[in-house]
């Protein structure tokens, strides 16, 4: 029974670690933090799998939310802010460019170009929300636009993405 659990876990890891690592990396933009977070994320999945509620969505969505929340927590931590201040920013940028060529799924190679098709405002919205954890009101404040406009743009951006995926 236990051996089977570990086997199931390995299956889970093989299927989702790429996407999880990609999201985490996109958020913290540091290999060191991303590796630590990947470890934390899968330990949490292991420990909390009984909390997963199939009625609230697919397992993949649940896993992505765990990964994203852990990474955003790290992003806001003092430890992260102190570390990233001293690091060379350009190094991180070059790594981040690397990620798309390493994509798990061959069909998504060149995705960068596809995402780039998003109008710049829409891309910024997605980045701020999904990868930097801004709330809708924080975005409205940051981009100095009414809440209604934020909603309209987000909807437009998601509808563009929907055509891609």
């Amino acid at each position: 029974m236990r051996a089977q659990d570990v086997k199931a876990f390995e299956y889970l890891y093989d299927n989702y670690s790429g996407a999880v690592y990609g999201i985490i990396f996109k958020i913290v933009r540091s290999e060191e933090f991303a590796q630590e977070l990947l470890n934390d994320c899968f330990l949490r999945i292991w420990n909390k799998i009984n909390d997963y509620d199939a009625s609230k969505g697919k397992l993949f969505t649940w896993i992505l939310n765990i990964a994203r929340n852990l990474a955003l927590d790290k992003l806001r931590s003092k430890e992260y802010k102190a570390k990233m201040k001293t690091d060379d920013v350009s190094e991180n940028v070059s790594i981040s460019d690397l990620q798309y060529s390493q994509a798990n799924n061959p069909e998504f190679i060149g995705i960068k170009e596809m995402v780039e098709k998003l109008p710049i405002e829409q891309k910024k919205l997605i980045d701020l929300m999904y990868f930097q954890g801004y709330s809708q009101s924080e975005i409205a404040e940051e981009l100095n636009m009414p809440l209604g406009t934020v909603k309209t743009r987000v909807r437009a951006a998601m509808s563009t993405l929907r055509k891609l995926f």
Binding site: M1, R2, D5, V6, A8, F9, E10, Y11, L12, Y13, D14, S17, G18, A19, Y21, G22, I23, F25, K26, Q35, L38, N39, F42, L43, W46, N47, I49, N50, A54, S55, K56, G57, K58, L59, F60, T61, L64, R68, Q99, Y100, A103, N104, N105, F108, V115, M129, G133, Y134, S135, Q136, I139, V150, K151, V154, R155, M158, L161, R162, L164, F165
Partner: protein, 272 residues
């Protein structure tokens, strides 16, 4: 609610992108559970985001897997007691079904909450009925008691009346002596039945530890007819039966009465 408007408002997109507050997110989940169209829209958006995430996939360094798996195996070894059973389902079943499940669970919860509400209402009503029934029983008991006691009083009065009007009954008026000039009481004595009834019209309240005592005087010899209190004044009090008497008198004695009357304490006296 206008479902189309809700879907096009952009709130579902904000939900999947994690840009809603906890309360706003719960609100979306409630809507999704209640309206299949919203659940379907949400499912599509989640699938889009999953694709988006998959597109950002980066193969993590290979050594990480072994590191994580061995950590998991460690926790398995520690948990040999087997407290928690892990069940990992990796199914791709349409999450529409999941939303339907959620919707039906919410309906079930709502139904049970409602039935709980009605149950407590019903329970309350039942409680009221029981209380009313109890009140009713008590009221009936009181009414019966009133009727019974009234009948008892009537019966007593009738008995008194027939006793007093009996030709064998003699009325003796005892009048106040100088020690208590304004006192007066009546004695009704029936020569046949030997019964004695007393009707006190007026007597001073006795000092503490003292009681009035009725005496029958038969050929100059005082015979004890019993002690009495003023509490029931106005009603006839039945005292000890007396075989033969020519006069009646009341003295003030120590509580419980005396074997012989204290002559200087004769308050009232009446002769036949």
């Amino acid at each position: 609610m206008n479902i189309e408007e809700y879907i096009s408002s952009g709130v579902l997109e904000l939900y999947v992108l994690g840009a809603l507050s906890k309360a706003e997110a719960v609100d979306v989940e409630v809507h999704a559970a209640a309206y299949p169209e919203i659940a379907e829209e949400l499912r599509t958006l989640q699938a889009t985001l999953e694709g988006f995430a998959q597109a950002h996939a980066i193969q993590p360094p290979a050594h990480l897997k072994q590191q994580i798996v061995s950590e998991i195996e460690k926790t398995v070894a520690q948990n040999k007691s087997g407290k928690t059973v892990k069940s990992i389902s990796i199914s791709n079943t349409s999450s529409l079904f999941n939303w339907l499940t959620a919707a039906s669970i919410i309906v079930a919860i709502a139904t049970s909450v409602l039935s709980g509400y009605f149950w407590s209402k019903w329970k309350n009503a039942e409680g009221h009925i029981i209380a009313l029934e109890k009140e009713n029983v008590i009221f009936a008991q009181n009414a019966n008691y009133q009727i019974d006691s009234t009948q008892l009083i009537i019966q007593e009065k009738n008995q008194s009346f027939s006793f007093i009007t009996d030709t064998a009954t003699t009325k003796v008026v005892m009048k106040g002596l100088p020690i208590s000039p304004s006192s007066v009481a009546l004695v009704f004595w029936n020569k046949n039945t030997k019964e004695v009834f007393l009707d006190v019209k007026s007597l001073p309240v006795p000092p503490a530890g003292m009681q009035y005592q009725l005496w029958a005087l038969d050929k100059g010899v005082p015979v004890d007819a019993g002690v009495f209190d003023l509490a029931t004044a106005g009603n006839l009090q039945k005292l000890k039966s007396i075989n033969s008497a020519q006069a009646f008198a009341v003295t003030l004695e120590k509580a419980g009465g005396s074997p012989t009357p204290t002559l200087e304490q004769i308050h009232i006296l009446g002769t036949i």
